[in-house]
Symmetry: none
Subunit: 236 residues, 2 copies
Amino acid sequence: MTGEQIILVVEDEPQMRRVLRTTLDGQGFRVIEAGSLADGMRAARDTPALVLLDLGLPDGDGLELVRWLRGWCRVPVIVISARGREADKVRVLDAGADDYLTKPFGVAELIARIRVALRHSAALGGPEEPVVEAGPIRVDFPRHEVTVDGVAVHLTPIEFRLLALLARHAGQVLTHRMLLREVWGPSAIEHTHYLRVHMATLRRKLEVDPARPHWLLTEPGVGYRLRDPGRAAKPT
Amino acid sequence: MTGEQIILVVEDEPQMRRVLRTTLDGQGFRVIEAGSLADGMRAARDTPALVLLDLGLPDGDGLELVRWLRGWCRVPVIVISARGREADKVRVLDAGADDYLTKPFGVAELIARIRVALRHSAALGGPEEPVVEAGPIRVDFPRHEVTVDGVAVHLTPIEFRLLALLARHAGQVLTHRMLLREVWGPSAIEHTHYLRVHMATLRRKLEVDPARPHWLLTEPGVGYRLRDPGRAAKPT
DNA sequence: CCGCGGCATCAAGAAAGCGTAAAGGTGACC
DNA sequence: GGTCACCTTTACGCTTTCTTGATGCCGCGG
């Protein structure tokens, strides 16, 4: 699901940065580093999964970064600070940070708190569009469900993967090779016959007139395509 | 925005309890108190918006309560403890707690951290239903109880976790991997046979005709699904 | 008119996935 | 130390799904 999670570390002391980098690397995270507020803002555009922010930055209050982030995204922010004063904590947390660690802290605790924060953001779900519609055909990815005019249609695993692929790229042609590689694996890119067979069953299940398909279109010599109703129909 | 938010305080020292109550009252929360683990579990059925948990309880480890809560809901849990050892924190946070405060702590910080936790759960959507029904099958999470047509059915721990997972996502397919990871742990995601065996026992206990299940549905090649009575029925 | 290439369809055997029963194995609790 | 409940593991028959080869269709160029 989540391949490699990126953590943005905003910290000016090189020593501390090295510790954090090696620790997080060891946990399987990819680490991006920034040494200042400005750098942090720049780096945050890579949409990290989490931000680790040291408050004692040279070019301004880390609070600014928290507010700035909250202005446009919900990425979890864990603040690290030497200042243990309660008023500081309250200010930072109320600004939108998700946790506050006081130096010195243990590495294990940091990792545990990172896990907590990622757990939260994972529960919020990704930004991806979970449903694709093409005319009467509706593909619901999280439910693994396909309906035609509202009635559920049962698809076999291969059929679903095939349709899902076409639906995710609705409107554009997917070549034989591409479809075969994604559905059957790289070793099957020559078995174009698989495609014909399974496209036929898909059409039988989804099309009104399987012999004259209206949604699952053949692009002769190239591949297949799911008609995108939002775009102009292809020229006859 | 939300009318009156309930906070469950699980704490055995009356003195500490009084401090917390007055503080939280002053912030506009409604406070429910519990002096022991058992009381805490009982009180949690009122679906509080947040749980404040002191680890030093007389009748057992507070860790138990965290695990128990996570078994059926995501209510934010903030743990308060006199023990500041890092290993303790990691254990509790990994068990599912959302934050860990070491005594002594400032009231303002506590409030700030409560705000953070509530912010998170608000983003997730409010407190969850403690009970899910699917046709004659009724799953009561806090009581750990399952009934069919009103009669209690005894489920083994694994069976309950399996059913609970399906019930919490009623209507949508849960993949083999997902179910195995959540019920048996990440190391078992390949033992799909476990699923078959335990789904069989579940069906024997819950279905009228276990051989032709009406609620615990197989999604061939993908996973399993609990039929959501709110949605359209399947075609034959 | 005929042959050819790309495509659709059909059907049968092979393979994979699923359900059930029952035999060990393990730990808890007297 | 024996019983009990539960989980794991093995075995086997059944069903669904996939693969594979055969056949027919259609348009195009020769």
